[in-house]
């Protein structure tokens, strides 16, 4: 009888331990991400990639400078030149999306966000530092084009992950630069 009680206590202890372990690991696994990231700036990647990509990114940075100085047409011309040097440069599409989201027809930005996203994924995946830009720009484009219900959650998501840039719900040229 004593032996049986001893065994039951052991099993009970082991069971309790297992439940504790399981619940803590589940809690770790399923907890909401609260860590933030420093959103990527394109000037950080101008020395990455092959020669064409580097040159193309330098042009993107120049375009962002032009955008910062409100030289809209000039900026767009430079982004397109960046695509001429490297048509598969996702950062160029990202910059064009940012440019359009402030323009007359923000929905145009969506296809550029989409394109940038596919190219990032094709290049080896979307980095966590780029993700908020893709999500935020999509949200901003949807919001600006009147699809508030679709846009707000995305903006909120971008803001949660990269509050340093997305706290105001928009991405300026200098923030992307």
């Amino acid at each position: 009888m004593q032996l049986a009680t001893e065994a039951a206590r052991k099993w009970w202890l082991w069971g309790l331990l297992a439940v504790l372990l399981c619940s803590s690991s589940c809690a770790i696994h399923f907890r909401r991400p609260t860590t933030t990231v420093e959103a990527l700036r394109i000037s950080e990647v101008v020395s990455e990639g092959d020669a064409a990509r580097r040159a193309s990114n330098r042009l993107v940075v120049k375009g962002l400078d032009a955008d910062s100085q409100q030289q809209s047409d000039r900026a767009l011309g430079i982004y397109e030149e960046a695509l001429r040097v490297d048509a598969t440069n996702p950062y160029a599409y990202l910059a064009i999306a940012r440019h359009h989201v402030d323009g007359d027809d923000p929905t145009w930005a969506l296809s550029f966000v989409d394109k940038a996203g596919s190219l990032f994924r094709a290049d080896g995946g979307v980095s966590p530092r780029v993700e908020p830009h893709l999500v935020g720009l999509r949200g901003q484009a949807l919001y600006a084009s009147g699809q508030i219900d679709a846009g707000l959650p995305l903006l909120e998501q971008a803001w949660t992950v990269a509050p340093d840039v997305w706290a105001d719900g928009q991405l300026s040229a200098s923030e992307l630069r």
Partner: protein
């Protein structure tokens, strides 16, 4: 009133008295004589009035002409089309982009000296190239003049530094090249308008010194010079010297014909006087410097000092030296006889004469004279007319908004920044011509002497991401036929249409696609009831293979499986896909559409494949970026595109088309030496009237079509007709190794299958290959590896099968 009458009467009387005092009484003429003089006088008076009236109205008419020409638009300036600028950056293959030739075409001149390098010159050193880049304005940038050193490592640019500080620069941009110009129907004059206040003083001085040294003081006609010339000509016994002033020359060029008649000379003098009366000397001189004929570039006339500066020295007129200005002034007299390109000695003698006159007239100092006199004549290489781009120019004109009609383009001097890449354009033209000649050499029966009946072809290259048309060769020779086969011809698409059918099948409808890349389609005899009777389609080789995978069917360009698929999913779905990809031509809703019986333009095919290459995002093919008039941007094309196909489906199609190039009907791409990511599709119509090859890399899509304008059998397969032209073009443009990567989007999963059955390959499966699927559509059937009966023939499946090796390999799947 009465007082006024009285005053008038007394005035009359006074005048009578006065006359009586002054003139003695005349002897009365006989009555008969008096009778005819008076009528004659009247006739003379009337004639004088009529002549005076006529002369006045004639002068007024000349004045009207002068005013209309001077105050309206003075010159018709053909609009220029420019290429996209060339960006130089470290890592770029400078030989591949033909850097020295590009500099030459842009008018840069090699400099062999040392020390300071003037703008527009370049100098080779050991392992480095120094270029003094010119400043230029572009709609998206203003590039300053920069002296840069380009360090070279083999074929590549190692670094670029700005001189003299040696600061490293990431990139530099060369100005756009001239692609061509739009001329009016009757004139082929090219000029680059300049303002007098922009020009160096020594340029106008040089022209005045030799053409009209008293320009500042005469009034349009120099009577002193006429007298001098008259005496000189009398002494010489013939016309040796002219006396036309600069104003008269301008009038002659502006308003009159070149005929040598007294009437024309008289009109010229009157008009010259009118011009001088109405306009100041600066305006006249500026018009003259923009109007004067200064040489010939092929069939195009070079007019004005601005254009001549670019033509002879590859630089702006503002940057001309004293010696160069004197040379331009020297050739005014007879630009072809004194051409520095063809007769440098004559040009040098005449230039020295001009320099002497400038010194004599005090327009330059002795030191300036001596320095300029010492300079040898160094002219830029003649930029050939870019006849090879004429088809492209026609397409561009049609794409411009209607407001830019032929008249506007021929006269308004617009600058149109195009998408053309001159290097790719030359490669396209070369590849097309070489390819057609190769076919004719191999099959002499195809050779036709009549240029209108010759074997033709076209090549169009596009950047899939943006839709920029990079090169377009619409036929063998624009001179022989202006019909552009890339954009104006509609020809049966043949097997190049088949991928659209497979895409329609791969695209999920209601969550499920009709097929996957590994689905089996039946390649067995088929009979289709049509309005014309029973249709019994066959494969190209008249063989039937039984069940084949989708991949195998497309790689081998089999007809029966694609017809079956088209009929199964319905022709409407096929048409819908083709439309979304960018096909706009009529598509007959019949089963044979799956075989490409629809007639499409190569540019449509290029757009549709560009959409696949671009991951399902459809670009808008375009040929220009900006239209600029005197520094103001009139039109700016905005980059636009639209997702029309799921990225995963586009990737599956790309993967299937990679298979066509790696193992299928397009495998000659590989055997001819192209490496790297390439996808493509051959197309030969049933009757062999049309040969196609569409190929794309991650950065370029190019379509080649070969055929006769009046359809007739060629008797060659596209892999021997159109494909080699594509390979030749890509090799010339990019080399053997193409850049980039086709990467799968997250919605695509790669899985090992048995390529003969389409079942998932497990350990021990005798034949295995990787295949791509949309997530959720992977096959569920497992490869039955124990069933080794009827071991499949490797050749029947083009996919590289990996056969199971030893027992342990089969067990553990190594």
């Amino acid at each position: 009133m009465a007082a006024r009458k009285k005053k008038a009467a007394s005035k009359k009387a006074a005048s009578k008295k006065k006359g009586a005092k002054k003139k003695p009484a005349r002897r009365k003429a006989p009555a008969r004589r008096r009778g005819w003089i008076r009528p004659l006088g009247r006739v003379a008076a009337v004639a004088a009035v009529v002549v005076g009236f006529w002369a006045s109205s004639w002068v007024l008419e000349q004045d009207r002409i002068v005013r209309a020409k001077f105050e309206g638009r003075r010159f018709s300036v053909p609009s220029r089309v420019l290429s996209s600028p060339t960006v130089l950056y470290p890592g770029l293959d400078w030989k591949r982009i033909e850097l020295p030739e590009t500099l030459g075409r842009l008018g840069y001149r090699e400099d062999s000296g040392s020390g300071e390098l003037p703008s527009g010159r370049y100098r080779w050193g050991r392992g480095r190239l120094r270029v003094h880049l010119r400043a230029f304005d572009h709609p998206s940038r203003q590039e300053p003049s920069r002296d840069v050193g380009i360090r070279l490592a083999g074929n590549f640019i190692d670094s670029i530094v700005e001189l003299p500080g040696q600061g490293e620069v990431g990139m530099v941009v060369l100005e756009p090249e001239l692609v061509g110009a739009y001329y009016g129907p009757e004139e082929r004059e090219q000029r680059d308008l300049v303002r007098l206040d922009e020009l160096p003083r020594h340029l106008s001085d040089a022209v005045l010194a030799v053409e009209d040294q008293r320009f500042e003081s005469h009034h349009g006609v120099d009577f002193r010079r006429i007298l001098g010339a008259f005496l000189a000509n009398v002494r010489a016994g013939g016309i040796r010297q002219g006396a036309s002033t600069l104003t008269q020359q301008l009038v002659k060029n502006f308003f009159l014909t070149p005929e040598q008649t007294l009437q024309r000379k008289f009109t010229e003098a009157v008009m010259a006087l009118l011009v001088e009366a109405r306009y100041d000397k600066e305006a006249i001189l500026e018009s003259y410097l923009n109007e004067i004929y200064l040489g010939q570039r092929g069939s195009t006339e070079v007019h004005g000092v601005g254009e001549a500066s670019r033509f002879y020295f590859g630089k702006r007129a503002q940057d001309l030296s004293v010696s160069e200005s004197a040379l331009i002034a020297a050739i005014v007299q007879s630009p072809n006889r004194l051409s520095p390109h063809r007769h440098p000695d004559r040009a040098l003698d005449r230039r020295n004469l001009v320099l002497g006159l400038m010194l004599e007239q005090g327009r330059i100092t002795r030191a300036e004279h001596d320095k300029a006199h010492e300079e040898t004549i160094r002219v830029a290489s003649v930029t050939p007319e870019v006849g090879e781009s004429r088809y492209f120019l026609d397409v561009l004109r049609r794409q411009l908004p209607e407001v830019y009609d032929r008249d506007v383009l021929a006269a308004e001097g617009l600058e149109i920044y195009s998408t053309l890449d001159p290097r790719l354009q030359r490669a396209a033209v070369r590849a097309l011509l070489r390819g057609l000649e190769r076919i004719e050499a191999k099959y002499p029966a195809l050779r036709e002497e009549d240029p209108q009946r010759r074997l033709q072809g076209c090549l169009i290259a596009m950047r899939p991401q943006t839709g920029e048309v990079l090169a377009l060769a619409g036929g063998r020779s624009y001179g022989d036929s202006q019909f552009d086969r890339c954009t104006q011809a509609r020809r049966q698409a043949g097997s190049t249409f088949k991928p659209f059918v497979y895409i329609a099948g791969l695209e999920p409808r209601d969550g499920t696609p009709a097929i996957t890349t590994a689905s089996l389609l039946d390649d067995a005899p088929l009979e289709v009831d049509t309005n014309q009777g029973v249709w019994k389609p066959r494969n190209y080789d008249h063989e039937f293979r039984g069940p084949v995978t989708v991949r195998h069917a497309l790689e081998g360009s089999l007809n029966i499986p694609v017809i079956r698929l088209g009929m199964e999913i319905g022709v409407d779905r096929v048409v819908d896909v083709a439309r979304r990809l960018g096909v706009t031509s009529d598509l007959p809703r019949v089963p044979s559409l799956a075989l490409g019986t629809a007639a499409l333009a190569p540019i449509e095919v290029a757009r549709a494949y560009a959409t696949i290459a671009n991951g399902g995002i459809r670009p808008q093919p375009h040929t220009f970026e900006d239209v600029v008039a005197r520094g103001e941007t009139l039109e700016r094309r905005k980059l636009r595109f639209e997702r029309v196909l799921d990225a995963g489906v586009a990737y599956l199609a790309t993967s299937l088309l990679e298979g066509v190039v790696d193992r299928g009907t397009g495998r000659r791409v590989r055997s001819m030496g192209i490496e790297g990511p390439v996808a493509g599709k051959t197309g030969t119509t049933d009757d062999e009237y049309d040969l196609w090859f569409v190929g794309f890399t991650p950065e370029l899509v190019a379509v080649v079509w070969v055929g006769f304008d009046e359809p007739r059998t060629i008797g060659v397969q596209s892999s021997w007709g159109a494909l080699p032209i594509w390979v030749d073009f890509v090799k010339d443009a990019y080399g053997k190794r193409v850049r980039g990567l086709f990467s799968a989007p997250p919605s695509v999963r790669e899985l090992e299958i048995n390529p003969e059955t389409g079942a998932v390959a497990m350990a021990g499966c005798p034949v295995r290959a990787n295949e791509v699927f949309l997530r959720g559509t992977e096959p569920t059937r497992i490869c039955d590896w124990q069933n080794t009966d009827g071991e499949p023939d490797e050749g029947s499946s083009g996919r590289r099968p990996q056969r199971g090796g030893s027992f342990w390999d089969r067990i553990f799947g190594r």
